[in-house]
């Protein structure tokens, strides 16, 4: 092959306080290539791509774009070179319209902005790529999948020919993933290059042409997709074999611990988000809630945790009505929650890892000497959590937002499980985790289950449901449409209930 790479990064290094996020990395992308970038949590993928997008400055190394050495000192410079990045957390202005977000900062727009005109332009590019979207809507009214479409359009509008996407599929429904891949294929056919960061190996096998794997800031392997399979990739990423824990079907659920009857819950906009749902949860079982995001799962979990008021119905915990209990009294009863929104709801971003680790238990006597917090005791407690849950970090005194996405999740989950809950509510517990870390979380959850904890999981990936859950409740438009025994159902059945196409009366 005698093509020249569009991007050639050489000897890139970048340190953050206490860690070398990128250590002498070389990385190449060819025109029209879909290049997957893999690696464990904290391996340095987002950092490397942020350098390419001009957001971070490398400590050393050179970058060639289309054969020329270029200093990418700002996102503006990168965009001028045709490099656009879509970040893990979208960068959209929430109360601007779609069209306003798309033209923002671009020099193609006239000084005086006419809404009709920018909306027309938006409509044109969205037609060209089959990315349908209403340009007049405000971004905060869009689903995450739609927001991602806006991000892609933004880059296309600027004429980017190198598109970097950081874990784009974590927020998408299976249908949306298919659509996204369709678009990526169109783009690649037009000669645009795409770098895709992901943890899902099946997606890599499906869409990538080439793969680079990072571990602890270094490149540990790269090859064409034809020479690879999921096993090889996993070994490269974690340098050992991952043992897939198979959910033991011989779980032995005990008695009912939580009984929900006709629960009706209001949503954020005053609408009814959950209509009269009834179900029960037994000790020692994992029940999954399946459904396309936004069908009432979040509201249901929040209501069970006491963070949202129920309009009517009842929640009985061991026969006791707890509907009017606040979150703290429910925690005292042993009902713990791992929220969907890690930073913000679960963790306090600017507090240290140590402080965050005791947020749930700071009042316990074991952390005090007299009236004062005893930081020696707290530190050893934090160290134990870090070890037990394999959290990778450089210094537990650093603010928690220095941690990579995956490690944040492990910290949060570890903290909650360590409370020895009797009912554990968790939303998307493995979102953004690498294969090994996800396995670790599953192990933890299964162990908890076998200890007799009742676990309610909101999951997005149907495969996961079959791996770990005992029962599954499928939600659609605020109703629980069906509760199924995982052993007696299929992905197709759940999938069709999720999107409401299941035949009536079947």
């Amino acid at each position: 092959m005698n093509r020249f790479p569009v991007i050639e990064m050489k000897g890139i290094s970048k340190r953050f306080p206490g860690v070398i996020a990128n250590d002498n990395i070389s990385f190449r992308v060819y025109p029209g290539e879909i290049h997957a970038l893999l690696g464990e949590n904290g391996a340095g993928k987002s950092t490397l791509m942020s350098i390419l997008a001009g957001l971070y400055r490398p400590d050393s190394g050179t970058i060639k774009v289309k054969g020329e050495v270029i200093r990418l000192h700002s996102p503006r410079k990168a965009l001028e070179e045709g490099i656009g990045m879509i970040y893990q957390h979208f960068r959209l202005v929430n109360n601007f319209t779609v069209a306003e977000n798309i033209v923002l900062g671009s020099k193609h727009v006239n000084w005086g902005i006419k809404q009709e005109r920018i909306q027309k332009e938006t409509r044109e590019i969205s037609h060209n790529y089959g990315l349908e979207i209403n340009p007049a809507v405000r971004v905060n009214q869009l689903s995450l999948g739609e927001q991602q479409r806006v991000e892609i359009l933004k880059m296309l509008y600027r004429g980017c020919d190198i598109l970097i996407m950081d874990e784009p599929t974590t927020v998408l429904t299976p249908g949306e993933v298919k659509e996204l891949f369709q678009v990526l294929r169109i783009m690649s056919r037009q000669g645009k290059s795409i770098v895709l960061i992901t943890h899902k190996l099946n997606e890599v096998m499906e869409i990538a042409d080439y793969v680079t794997v990072l571990r602890r800031g270094k490149v540990v392997g790269d090859d064409r997709i034809e020479n690879l399979d999921e096993g090889i990739l996993t070994r490269m990423m974690v340098a050992r074999e991952v043992v897939y824990s198979q959910a033991q079907r011989d779980s032995s659920p005990g008695g009912v611990i939580l009984n929900v009857d006709n629960l009706k819950i209001q949503g954020d906009r005053g609408n009814i988000a959950v209509h009269e749902v009834s179900f029960n949860l037994r000790r020692g079982e994992i029940m999954a809630i399946a459904g396309v995001a936004g069908n009432g799962q979040r509201e249901l979990v929040e209501a069970l945790a006491g963070l949202r008021k129920a309009v009517s119905g009842s929640i009985e915990y061991e026969g006791e009505e707890i509907k009017h209990y606040d979150a703290k009294s429910r925690i005292a009863l042993g009902i713990n929650m791992v929220p969907e929104d890690r930073i913000g709801m679960g963790l306090v971003p600017n507090l240290s890892v140590i402080d965050n680790s005791i947020l749930r238990s700071y009042y316990k006597e074991e952390f005090y000497s007299g009236w004062f917090l005893n930081y020696n005791k707290i530190r050893s407690y934090t160290d134990r959590i870090i070890n037990e849950y394999n959290i990778v970090l450089s210094d537990s005194n650093h603010p928690v937002n220095y941690l990579s996405g995956g490690n944040l999740q492990k910290l949060l989950l570890g903290r909650e499980i360590d409370q020895k809950p009797r009912v554990l509510l968790a939303s998307y517990p493995i979102r953004g985790l690498d294969v090994a870390a996800a396995e670790g979380v599953y192990d933890l959850l299964l162990k908890e289950r076998d200890k007799g904890t009742a676990i309610l999981l909101v999951l997005e990936d149907l495969d996961d449901i079959f791996r770990i859950a005992d029962r599954v409740a499928v939600m659609y438009q605020g109703f629980i449409r069906k509760i199924l025994d995982v052993e007696k159902t299929s992905i197709d059945e759940i999938g069709s209930i999720m999107v409401g196409t299941e035949l009536a009366g079947v």
Binding site: L55, R91, F96, L104
Partner: protein, 309 residues
């Protein structure tokens, strides 16, 4: 109240609203870009002192206005340096600026204490319109600054909502990460808005020392900077509402004087409280009606650091 008294009151309202509107429009611009500047009072005072001294010593009030612009802009650039370049706390820096401005203006104006302003802005008498009974004196017989002020506020509305620059400024105040990702220089936009905002506060101050109470007195802005800060909130960060609010608050101020001369006894303390009470009421009403969309720029008061997360 007869017609002449009413028309005099309304005319006084236009004058009293002007310095507040200058300062509020400036603060609004800075806050739209995400920078909260509580130094408005200090910037007004420095503008008032610079404007007064320069006009007296050069005999040209336009030069005085230039000096006021420079004074306000200089003060704001200190705030910019601390909060944008060094990422210091905006509230602390703004409060310090107010104290500093009060001290600096007091020091500069020491030898002018009580001196009258000798060079006055001529009032315009708009032909034809100025002769309309009642409305003429209320609206069309003021000094040019009054009209300049309304024009500036209106232009700011156009700038913020109808132009590319406005989109850029608002995006920086709402979500600097998003702005940065599309190549907008967040720091530069914020610095510019803060300095222009400070210049407008300076103009507002100079209007007081040159036109409104044409003299120099220590701390002569008498809390109007704080009213301007409240007005920005009252206006929900929209210049067109700020125009209305400025004349409403200006009207209260004008009324305070007149009631005293008319022998009606409402506590002047109550009237002085009015702008703040009105602001609180607006905030409560808005919060009840639309929960998330209360109008404050989302990143208001937050420093931006690209490599932080």
């Amino acid at each position: 109240m007869d017609n002449t008294a009413l028309s005099a009151l309304l005319a006084a309202t236009m004058i009293a609203g002007t310095p507040i509107l200058f300062a509020a429009a400036g603060e609004l611009l800075a806050e739209r870009s995400g920078i909260l500047n509580l130094g408005v009072e200090g910037m007004m005072l420095v503008g008032a002192a610079f404007g007064f001294i320069c006009t007296l010593s050069t005999g040209n009030h336009w030069l005085g206005l230039l000096a006021a612009l420079a004074g306000g802009g200089f003060m704001a650039s200190i705030h910019g340096l601390i909060t944008i370049t060094l990422r210091g706390n905006q509230v602390v820096s703004g409060l310090a600026l107010t104290i500093f401005g009060s001290g600096l203006s007091g020091f500069l104006g020491k030898s002018y204490q009580g001196a009258p302003m000798l060079f006055k802005f001529e009032s315009l008498h708009v032909p034809v319109l100025g002769n309309i009974p009642f409305l003429g004196p209320v609206l069309f017989r003021h000094d040019p600054m009054v009209y300049l002020c309304i024009l500036m506020a209106a232009a700011m509305w156009y700038l913020l909502y109808k132009t590319r620059w406005g989109l850029t400024i608002r995006s920086v105040g709402e979500n600097p990460q998003a702005a940065d990702a599309v190549g907008i220089n967040v720091g530069r936009v914020r610095f510019l808005c803060t300095i222009v905002g400070g210049m407008m506060a300076g103009l507002g101050g100079a209007y007081i020392s040159l036109v409104y109470a044409p003299t120099w007195q220590e701390n002569m802005t008498a809390g109007r900077g704080w009213i301007a800060v409240a007005l920005v909130i009252f206006a929900l960060w929209n210049p067109s509402r700020a125009i209305i609010g400025a004349y409403l608050f200006g009207g209260i101020e004008a009324l305070t004087f007149r009631l005293q001369t008319m022998g009606i006894h409402i506590s002047s303390f109550f009237l002085a409280m009015f702008p703040y009470i009105a602001t609180i009421v607006v905030l409560v009403l808005v919060t009840i009606r639309r929960r998330q969309d209360a109008g404050a720029p989302e990143a208001l008061g937050l420093a931006y650091d690209r490599e932080e997360r």
